[in-house]
């Protein structure tokens, strides 16, 4: 490969317009590229209009791969295509989303390129003196933060969704689109996508909610979540859950909050029957006010919450719901 130069991002197409992760990656990529004094590239398997969106957002050159089938991309053909673009573009670093696509693709791409990878980065910086990208990521469920440097060129990083300020599109901004036809002659896929199914438990997205009422092991079963729904309704919020509640089958998996679930940043987070394990707190640590309701006074949640009551949620929540309703009606 030629001397590594520039930052490359893997943009993901949405339904019609670009998926939001794409603008977040472009925002982060632009900041790194500016710090390095180098150009910003993007690779996208999508539509012309989406490539134009990328240029408007600040990408200097888009490598446009053929758009995938309606069922979505197949890893076995996407991987060699992306690898070929990387070798052609020869960037110093590449950002992908820590998304279903990134989790599938990035580690395999790293092995093919013989380079290092840091996953689920929530902060990025360019160290000009050392000439390298530094990525910060949570370990042990978020108990500690590790600052890591993936080695080789390109340095690979998957970036946590919603952790980066997205780029602001400026229509009319220049840039070029390079149509890239991958050479898939040697590829004989042994897999196929049968179908893609969209599931949405609630109209309101957990990640955007201002108020979240979340339940954990202490809620004891699906019926207990009724109390949480009533409180959430009065507060104009959304119900969430810990991994334990989801894995026990009490609520749909879309409600899971935590390192491997949704990351929320509400004004108010009410944790009901949640012990406060690190991997869960990673999903709500940014909440402005955290309230804990738990029967166990030694539960770690009481070290993370701003306000708390030690007691039974079945008695506390109805009274809290009524009190909040009364306050709202004043």
């Amino acid at each position: 490969m030629a001397s590594p130069h520039g930052i490359l991002v893997l943009a993901e197409p949405g339904e019609e317009r670009l998926a939001s992760i794409s603008l977040e990656l472009v925002g982060a990529g632009r900041r790194l590229a500016d710090a390095a004094g180098e150009p910003l590239f993007a690779v996208l398997a999508g539509l012309d209009a989406q490539a134009q969106e990328l240029l408007a957002a600040g990408v200097d050159r888009v490598y446009l791969l053929p758009a995938p089938a309606p069922t979505g991309y197949l890893l076995e053909t996407m991987l060699p295509a992306v690898e070929q673009v990387v070798r052609a573009a020869s960037p110093r670093a590449m950002l992908l989303g820590h998304t279903a696509c990134g989790k599938d693709l990035a580690p395999r791409l790293a092995v093919r390129l013989g380079v290092g990878l840091v996953t689920d980065a929530c902060a990025l910086a360019y160290d000009a003196a050392a000439g390298e990208v530094v990525a910060s990521k949570p370990i042990f469920g978020g108990l500690a933060i590790a600052e890591q440097v993936p080695l080789g060129a390109p340095q690979l990083v998957t970036v946590r969704p919603k952790s980066q300020e997205p780029a602001e599109p400026q229509p009319g901004r220049g840039g070029e689109i390079v149509r890239f036809e991958p050479d898939l002659a040697g590829v004989a896929p042994r897999s196929r996508v049968v179908e893609r199914v969209r599931e949405r438990a609630t109209a309101k997205r957990l990640e955007d909610a201002e108020v979240v009422v979340a339940g954990g092991r202490g809620v004891g079963g699906p019926e207990g979540f009724r109390y949480l729904e009533e409180l959430a309704e009065v507060l104009g919020g959304v119900v969430g859950a810990s991994r334990v509640a989801v894995d026990s089958g009490w609520v749909p998996s879309e409600l899971q909050i935590g390192l491997t679930g949704k990351i929320t940043s509400p004004k108010l987070y009410v944790a009901v029957g949640i012990s406060g394990a690190m991997q869960h707190m990673a999903g709500c640590a940014n909440a402005r006010t955290i309230v804990a309701i738990n029967t166990d006074p030694t539960a770690p949640i009481f070290e993370k919450a701003h306000l708390g009551i030690v007691g039974d949620f079945r008695q506390i929540l109805p009274a809290l719901t009524a009190a909040c309703r009364a306050l709202r009606e004043r």
């Binding site: 279903a100 599938d104 395999r108 370990i139 080695l151 897999s191 006010t289 708390g308 306050l327």
Partner: protein, 267 residues
């Protein structure tokens, strides 16, 4: 599928300090580079690896399979593997090497790939979607690349139909159904798979088995080739003085909480 009846499934497991242990029991060591858990913190199977094992055991229940446990560790953890065998797996292999175990995810993946090649023909390799300590999620897909087989990350359900794998992979807003010809590597998430308890019969059967222990000398072409450099490790500010609301009754406490929230301008 190789073998007369049934498949061969290899489950990769990692032994980690209990991720649910209180944060106060963890500290950063003198080098400033490693997070160390107090001796009192139990060591157990990484959370999502348990789900991978349950997925394997369910396939074994449905179709018949030989389930092999595989782990890389720096010390002798055969006792833990022996206990894990008691859930219903058939055999266990431990690759024991302190230096290799200290390597990054790519070293782990290369070691496991080498061990799997040594084990012979297989249909399916299952890993947890990410380890509870590193939270990297790199080993599974990297392993597939080293082995040159298809893979899918964050699979919530896997079935076998007419000799092919049919799986559901979690997406941001739903899931996709994939069909794959084995052999393949899948990383498993916990939604549908909770590891079963050991039965008396399986405990008895496991106690009669030996965990095979391999060293670096038993594997082909494995080097400690690190691809990541850690600059710094730190504990983010976590401890908080929680205002505990007490009252004569839960209802009164709830009232005071509502008032406190109103006073803080939250509601």
């Amino acid at each position: 599928m190789p073998g007369g009846g049934g498949m061969r499934i290899i489950v990769c497991l990692k032994r980690v300090p209990d991720p649910e242990a209180p944060a106060s029991l963890f500290r950063i060591d003198e080098t400033g580079q490693r997070l160390v858990a107090a001796r009192s913190v139990p060591r157990l199977t990484s959370t999502y690896d348990e789900s991978a094992l349950e997925a394997a055991l369910q396939l074994k229940d449905q179709h018949g399979a030989q389930v092999t446990l595989l782990s890389l560790a720096g010390e002798d953890v055969s006792e833990w593997l022996q206990e894990t065998l008691a859930t219903g797996a058939d055999e266990a292999v431990l690759v024991q090497d302190a230096e290799l175990a200290e390597g990054d995810s790519f070293v782990t993946a290369a070691v496991l790939a080498s061990a799997i090649r040594k084990l012979g023909a297989y249909d399916l390799v299952l890993c947890g979607r990410q380890a509870s300590d590193t939270d990297a999620g790199i080993v599974g897909p990297a392993l597939a690349e080293y082995l040159g087989v298809p893979s899918a990350a964050v699979v919530r359900r896997v079935a076998v139909q007419d000799g092919r794998l049919r799986l559901e992979r979690v997406l941001e807003d739903g899931y996709e159904v994939l069909e794959m010809a084995p052999p393949a590597v899948l990383t498993i998430t916990s939604e549908c798979y909770q590891l079963r308890y050991a039965t008396m019969a399986n405990i008895m059967a496991a106690s009669a088995k030996e965990v095979a222990v391999w060293t670096r000398a038993d594997l082909d072409g494995v080097t400690v080739d690190r691809r990541t450099r850690q600059r710094r490790l730190y504990l983010p500010e976590q401890r908080r003085a929680c205002e505990l609301i007490t009252a004569d009754s839960p209802e009164e406490a709830a009232q005071r909480l509502a008032q406190a929230l109103r006073a803080r301008g939250v509601i």
